[in-house]
Amino acid sequence: MATLEGIEPGRDQGHGAREIHVDGAPADGRRRDFINVAAVSFLGVGTAAVTLPLISQMNPSADVLALASIEVDISGILPGQAVKSSWRKQPIFIRNLTPAEIKSANAVAIGSLREPQTLAERTKEGKANWLITMGICTHLGCIPLGTADGENRGDFGGYFCPCHGSHYDTAGRIRKGPAPKNLEVPEYVFKTDTIVQIG
């Protein structure tokens, strides 16, 4: 870099008359380093502060979260019937099991299951006939058949996924086919005997 005419070399240009340390390093050197480090650090902090909202804006918005909880009236579902409902834009199965279906679900040897769970673990106490599960096959996300009358309920009388042939039993457990897990049980509570709050 060119030197300014008339200013002897070795002197800090902007501060020609400033103090010079014994070891020859200008006192301003460290001050300038500090300013440099402080400025660049603050740039980092500022960038992070700006990046956070730009990332978080892609999370579910307030109106989406507001739909995260629904109430369903189950008084019209007779034993042996099932309904498909929508929760968080996803299908949910609510099934009123018959005593025979409960019996067949309880008759299975737990050890033989791909994901060992009892019917009692998958329902609420005293409400063993109400099987509430997500209507999403745990294989690749299709909606299994078996809610409407006359639909294929698979080899085990529960649900059957037509995409790749996964069979679920009357407790919504995977029994045959490629799906790795039982149908997911969402969080829910019985607000009254006939009103279920999901989510």
Partner: protein
């Protein structure tokens, strides 16, 4: 490109050597905004505004892409989707306010950038292409900003669209057909909203492309400087990095502080309350005004009230477009060989009168078209054109300019007043050390 004494990029790291032989991108950056780009050593803070404009464009593109993720381009849902952004989307209010105020700051920065060029004669040879490309960017910005203001689909959006497309309707014979074609209908509706959204998304990237040309054209002769005197040797320049990265960085900090103050404390100050009312094709707001950055042009548009051969409405439209097109001819209207107004005392006075004139136009452009504002707008409009078409050509012939400094480095060392004083006069500095080399 650049000066022969520019520092040469020499990568030391083997990876960078490998990279340089295959895709010399770091070399390009080094030569464009690194130590390989020598810049006049005497630039003042007005030279920050090019970088600030670039940062503004980046802010607009980043926030704009985010807004497009949540916006709905449909006449029935557009307004709701903007309210959804404001209320429901995480940090949506911040991102939308940053985009709306970012547009205003972009224009503030660009206006200062343009007037900087006018004051220091940066439009003159050999930088005409830099000036012309800058004007293209300015026109693209105006189009982009206008179409962006339409998207919230509030009352101002709707009636602004009606009025601005109506400008094209003033063109004789084809005007009405043209307006219908622009809108894709007989009034602003879904078709107009969708095409405006599409173009609003596209144009910023076109602007980015023209900015690359703008910088390319700038880097051929290098930056102008406050003396307007060309660089004569290595002693006149310093490397862009770290000298001007630091100076621009400081200016950027100030810019971001001011931006944050607007963003967090006065987010709606520059907006119009009527745009929080959903678009209603059956009711016009009491008063339609464009965004503040269009006010000077809006004042020129409304200044014509008398039919003279052509209808007054058409005169207004022509004058408004010509007020910008005129600037494309500026390098050839002002033929003075002296660039900087620091050495053109009379031009400097007229420059500041022009600044005041444009501010007055902006002031009346935001007010109702009534007396006395109308007369003020007419006077200011006449002066605006007179400045470029009459005053500048005459002034560049008859003005007696001050003597220029011998070089940038000498004006830096001795002070501009002393350096431009005639040799041998008392104001000539005679400090020890300095005087010796000055006479050498």
């Amino acid at each position: 490109m650049s000066f022969p004494w520019a520092e040469v990029y020499k990568p030391k790291n083997p990876l960078m050597v490998w990279m340089d032989e295959r895709l010399p991108m770091p070399r390009l950056v080094y030569n464009a905004i690194g130590a390989g780009y020598p810049v006049p050593r005497n630039l003042n803070y007005f030279w920050n505004f090019g970088v600030l404009a670039g940062v503004s464009l980046v802010i607009q593109i980043v926030t704009g892409i985010v807004l497009a993720m949540h916006y709905s381009t449909d006449g029935n849902t557009a307004f709701q989707s903007v309210e959804h952004i404001m209320r429901d989307v995480n940090s949506g209010w911040l991102i939308r306010y940053a985009h709306a105020n970012g547009a205003s700051f972009f224009f503030i920065v660009v206006y200062i950038h343009i007037f900087r060029g006018l004051y220091y004669g940066s439009y003159k040879a050999p930088r005409e292409m830099v000036w012309l490309l800058g004007l293209v960017i300015f026109l693209l910005m105006m189009a982009t900003a206008f179409m962006g203001y339409v998207l919230p689909w509030g009352q101002m959006s709707y009636w602004g669209t009606q009025v601005i497309t109506g400008l094209f309707g003033a063109i004789p014979l084809v005007g009405e057909t043209l307006q219908t074609w622009l809108l894709g209908g007989f009034a602003p509706d879904n078709a107009a909203l969708n095409r405006f959204f599409s173009l609003h998304y596209l144009l910023p990237f076109v602007i980015a492309g023209v900015i690359i040309l703008h910088i390319w054209a700038l880097h051929i002769p290098g930056s102008n400087n406050p003396t307007g005197v060309s660089v004569k040797g290595p002693q006149d320049t310093v490397p862009f990095h770290p000298y001007y990265t630091a100076k621009d960085g400081f200016g950027l900090g100030i810019f971001l502080i001011l931006f944050s103050i607007m963003l967090f404390f006065l987010p709606n100050y520059l907006g119009h309350a009527d745009n929080y009312i959903p678009a209603n094709p059956l009711a016009t707001p009491a008063e339609i005004v464009p965004e503040w950055y269009f006010w000077p042009f809006y004042a020129i548009l409304r200044a014509f009230t008398v039919d003279f051969i052509l209808p007054a409405k058409l005169w207004g439209v022509l004058a408004m477009f010509f007020s910008i097109l005129l600037l494309f001819f500026l390098p050839w209207l002002d033929k003075s060989p002296v660039r900087s107004a620091n050495y053109r005392p009379t031009y400097a006075k007229f420059f500041w009168i022009l600044v005041a004139d444009v501010l007055i136009l902006g002031w009346v452009g935001g007010l109702p078209a009534e007396e006395p504002y109308l007369m003020i707008a007419q006077t200011a409009t006449i002066y605006y054109f007179a400045h470029f078409l009459i005053i500048l050509p005459i002034l560049s012939k008859i003005e007696r300019t001050r003597p220029l400094p011998h070089s940038i480095s000498r004006s830096v060392l001795h002070g501009e007043a002393a350096e431009s004083a005639p040799p041998g006069t008392a104001t000539r500095p005679n400090a020890p050390g300095l005087g010796q080399t000055a006479s050498a």
